[in-house]
Symmetry: C2
Subunit: 430 residues, 2 copies
């Protein structure tokens, strides 16, 4: 008994030290691009979270909902996009464009057998108010810089457009009632490959061979971004929405070139993304191995209008912080000490506590992270503790040393000890 609730976990110090550093690196880039911090509440009115044009009925099933003592229906937030849309609706006079970042927890009652947690962290940026592809390009460029700033090297941005997917559906002649299913199958292309998609389309989705071939014709186009878009344009040239979508992606490609953020871009017509609210370009951040996406986003020009009756275009991306932390650990993208404590001050007997207190305060004044023995333990026990906590240095305070006006500094890695005065100790610890 007394465990974290199923699907949640404690983020322990060694994990948190790394996570805080990653958050710091992400925030640095978000602010570099002019996104400002916003924190909305952990729960919203349930009617906000389930509103039409929002996350869609499948996602709504995963909301943790409850009533407050006044029988108000509430729900823990499912993502950071719907709360942003609600915030814009609450503040109709806000100056546009509104660019904000939000780094916080969200909650989904998900199937935990897939290694997913029900409480997890997202780091989102969004631009509200601009319909220009400049905004989509900036979101992508900023995400790229964030991943680079963390230290990621091998990642790609998969880029598609919901408009092109609509055109693909039309081109292939898919029945209206099968669109969702077909998109879900197409979305698996990078996981199950051509053969897997073909089989699923023909045998499970019951799509005819001609339609299936047309779908594969498009999603299998290979080449550089501009070449892929050119080829696709030739295929769907009669479908206006598709041509619009291709034009948008061409614009994004052009801007990203100017921003020197083009080398990781991959046009991928099989990318569909689950959430209902996207209306234009969509994108995901992948690292090479088959790990799934580390970030995903897109344009959602209709959602705010459905909330507030006033159409406002918007685009954003969400970084999945937990998976990023996992990959940073696994691939040793960077490593940090298990602790940020630098030195452990140990008085060898009770009488020396007052002196040890003075010493530790002096060390702290020098901005060095320092602890002192609070358990009145023997030296050997304290060494054990220091080792278990991976604290690099120990200061031993004994009567002999005090008489000489010195302190004994022990390097816990080498085991070497030196008799030093305070000034030299500070120098050494810094």
């Amino acid at each position: 008994m007394f465990k974290p609730p199923k699907g949640t976990r404690d983020l322990e110090p060694d994990d948190m030290i790394l996570r805080d550093k990653i958050i710091e690196k992400i925030k640095e880039i978000f602010e570099r691009y002019g996104y400002l911090p916003l924190i909305t509440p952990a729960f919203e009115e349930l009617s906000t979270l389930t509103a039409k044009g929002g996350i869609g009925p499948e996602a709504v099933k995963q909301i943790y909902s409850f009533k407050d003592k006044a029988e108000r229906e509430l729900g823990l937030i499912y993502d950071l996009t719907v709360p942003l849309v609600r915030y814009i609706t609450t503040n109709p006079d806000i100056k546009l464009p509104f660019k904000r970042y939000q780094i916080s927890r969200v909650w989904r009652y998900e199937d935990i057998s897939k290694g997913r947690y029900r409480e997890f962290w997202q780091a989102d940026i969004d631009i509200v108010g601009s319909s220009s592809m400049l905004a989509d390009s900036e979101i992508i460029a900023c995400a790229i810089d964030a991943f680079k700033n963390i230290g990621f090297k091998n990642f790609i941005i998969r880029l598609n457009n919901r408009k092109i997917l609509s055109a693909l559906i039309e081109y292939a002649g898919v029945d209206k009632n099968k669109i969702e299913d077909v998109l879900r199958t197409i979305d698996k292309f990078d996981k199950i490959g051509r053969k897997g998609v073909e089989e699923e389309l023909l045998n499970i989705r019951k799509i005819n061979k001609v339609s299936c071939d047309k779908i594969l014709e498009l999603i299998e186009i290979k080449g550089k971004p501009k070449d892929i878009l050119k080829k696709a344009e030739n295929i769907i040239k009669d479908i206006k929405i598709g041509i619009d979508g291709i034009k948008e992606l061409n614009e994004i490609i052009f801007y990203l070139e100017k921003m020197e953020a083009i080398d990781v871009i991959k046009i991928d017509f099989s990318l569909a993304r689950g959430l209902d609210y996207y209306t234009g370009p969509i994108f995901e951040v992948f690292i090479e191995e088959n790990i799934g996406s580390l970030a995903g986003g897109g344009r959602y020009d209709k959602m705010i209008g459905l909330f507030s009756k006033k159409d406002i275009p918007a685009v954003g991306i969400s970084l999945g912080l937990d998976r990023i932390v996992e990959i940073v650990k696994e691939k040793k993208i960077f490593e940090l000490p298990k602790t940020n404590i630098k030195v452990f001050v140990i008085p060898v007997n009770k009488n020396l506590i007052p002196y040890a207190l003075e010493i530790s305060q002096k060390i702290r004044k020098e901005k060095i992270n320092c602890i002192i023995d609070l358990m009145n333990r023997k030296l050997s026990k304290n060494f054990e503790y220091a080792n278990s906590q991976k604290i690099p240095f120990v200061i031993i305070i004994g009567e002999k040393e005090i008489k000489q006006n010195k302190l004994r500094l022990r390097d816990m890695v080498t085991g070497k000890e030196e008799l030093l005065d305070m000034k030299d100790i500070i120098k050494k610890l810094k």
Copy 2:
């Protein structure tokens, strides 16, 4: 419609910029004293939150409780202490002392008429495993340094001991069934004064005059910490638990002197603190005016034992972040710009967008926070926007300037413009 749920609010960019800075200053000191970061889930099993020896029945009424889809009973966390105790119980082999900080939101269904929010932020430090008064002293010294690091100057630490309160009750001969009520009345001493307390004790709590006088005799002792403790010792010299309590406070005073953290300490026998779980020293941080406490904590040696059947002593303090942010704003303890955006790049026409993109990326590479016009607006509209956002500088990109290989930098405060090359602009912006 579409507002934050009752009792909650959005923390908007100008508030968040200040809040983030305050959190940074608090974290710096917490880490200086060797506290490590821990984040526990936003909700716990309801049985954890309501466990005997925890927050107590009055507080339990304020928990936001709900069931997940598997009918598991859960509750949003009410404070950060119970989750810590649960964490220790979940990890029985953890090395002691365990010192952690946690800065996160907690939720209480409170009466919002008092200007309280139902979602608010706490910043806690706790030491688990040490029964020494060194630990209590360190918690107090660390809190003092945190407030000083934020910039607070006039604050005091009110210090008392639950053991002394027990002795006071015994000394005054208060009926067992009236203890809670009497303590609640005593706790108001700094708000309603001697007369208020006397009236409430006699007329509402129905305490006899002799008892009342004895209570006032103790809580009215004035003087320096050591003198107050001396006088109290003489009064309750026959009550062992009281003498123990006084001995503990004398020890804390002694240690805090050594830590140069004594000048803000005020012994105050009227301090009671609401939560049920305290067993020893208790303390609160007050600023001079009648604002209420900015932080509060104490020793809780029985709580972990009630959870895990193994007694482990603990002590901690919780800083109320929202009130701290409020006071920093009100008293202008420090001020920050409304935005952290340094410069706004504006191409005067569409053809110059590619060039403007290149420029903004160059500026960002220099670690300067920069935005670019995403709305394709006129110069005057963009100036308006820059002013509304309090962005200090604007770079205007026009054809004339490009031909000279220069950029026009406008100081939005003075309105002055200069024609500079990239190098000089970077210098100026840094």
